[in-house]
Symmetry: C2
Subunit: 252 residues, 2 copies
């Protein structure tokens, strides 16, 4: 009935940023599945077709909101000791992903694409740099990041699903355990029984699990680092001429 739609400030002149921020907000509140061009237009007090002046298409919108999320991940400054740097970044990424759980649906084909936006190129370049400056060989830096990211993505993927699932209804292990036919799945039963006997809630437990797994991976990578290029193929060794030890800070 009103000519200009829902929120008071919809008369700002529409821009890529305004569209993308509205998209993130909409996804946060309702999930990616309701994120359509038409709905997004409605949210901005405009018809869907108007959006196409500022974004190429829906794909562009999805890429854009992934970039917004990625840029919310704290990037450790060059010079940070690698365990702290990789740990801080992994923890920050996990927190950001949990704040925007819909991002899991975009992991596939967006977050981990090889052809990338500047935001994502800078992000992975910095992480590789941090590893290189801490004594990782080229291969091992690649290896380490691949391993940390695999763990980070895989863990968060599972975690987000569990939270979405029993989130609102707060269905806990205590209830789940009774839904599983225990004679058939004795080991699952055993786990659920064990988990529900613990005082810690699911959040606290997953925090602990994530941290522990990360430390185990870091321990493994530390051994890799010390062993240098031991696992590389024969033509690999070329250690960089250590072009920049510490003096190249990307951010504050």
């Amino acid at each position: 009935m009103a000519v200009t739609a829902n929120n008071g400030e919809s008369r700002q002149p529409l821009s890529r940023d305004r569209i993308l921020n509205a998209a993130v907000l909409l996804a946060d509140r309702q999930g990616v599945e309701v994120l359509s061009m038409r709905r997004l237009g409605r949210e901005l007090g405009v018809r869907a077709m108007s959006l196409y002046k500022h974004v190429a298409n829906k794909d562009d919108v999805l890429d854009g909101i992934v970039d917004i999320v990625v840029s919310q991940i704290d990037l450790p400054p060059y010079g940070t000791e690698w365990r702290k740097a990789m740990g801080d970044r992994a923890r920050s990424a996990r927190q950001v992903f949990l704040q925007h759980p819909w991002i899991a649906a975009l992991f596939e084909s967006r977050l981990t694409r090889p052809q990338q936006t500047p935001v994502r190129l800078r992000y992975v370049n910095t992480l590789l740099g941090l590893l290189r400056q801490n004594g990782f060989s080229v291969s091992n830096a690649y290896r380490a990041l691949l391993m940390i990211d695999s763990y980070l993505y895989g863990f968060t993927l599972q975690e987000v699903n569990w939270r979405l699932e029993d989130g609102n209804a707060s269905r806990s292990e205590e209830e789940t355990v009774h839904q599983v036919p225990m004679e058939t799945y004795q080991y699952l039963f055993e786990i659920y029984t064990h988990l529900s006997s613990q005082n810690a809630g699911i959040s606290t437990r997953l925090n602990t699990e994530f941290a522990l797994g990360l430390e185990l991976i870091f321990d493994a990578l530390e051994r890799l680092r010390e062993n240098g290029t031991k696992f590389d193929s024969p033509d690999a060794p070329t250690p960089l001429p250590d072009s920049d030890g510490e003096d190249c800070k990307l951010q504050d």
Copy 2:
């Protein structure tokens, strides 16, 4: 124009299995994004509405095809030494995922849901059992599976995207390296240069990387296993009365 559509055997009387198998085939050939009820019906020589006699809705179809994929993963028999068991299963899962790359889009909210189908319950129950029978405490079995699965899902997720991306055009690192502004992203440049200097193709390299990361994780888990319940919360210890040592085989 023909009354019964495309393939010769479309006059079999439509069943859940026939529908799900057609869905997997369609996804394999064209990707999940083209998998619609209407398209699926067309594929079976029938209108979309007919499908609703055999499947509840599209969600049911998607759950169904995930089950089909999961059931293609080889499940090691009880009694297998844990490193071999977990390694075989991870390698088999990876192969299956690479054969059905669209599965990555369903990782979110389907593969890792807590409320599960019998196929998936049996699958994870067996894996937990294998760990328990090899001396893992209840907590550590849970921990180990969470960690292995995180790595498996995360790694495969990234790998599938890379393959889909440069798959058909076979765009290799040699070409990618020239698209990245090397002054801005020196560490990325360094990696791409290094990777493209190796003789091994991307497939071979990722095989190696996957195997190496898996071994590093197994090494870490072996230490966890030996340390028993060291990382558990105080009320945890309860080791199972070893109800079945070896005599409970689930499969051939």
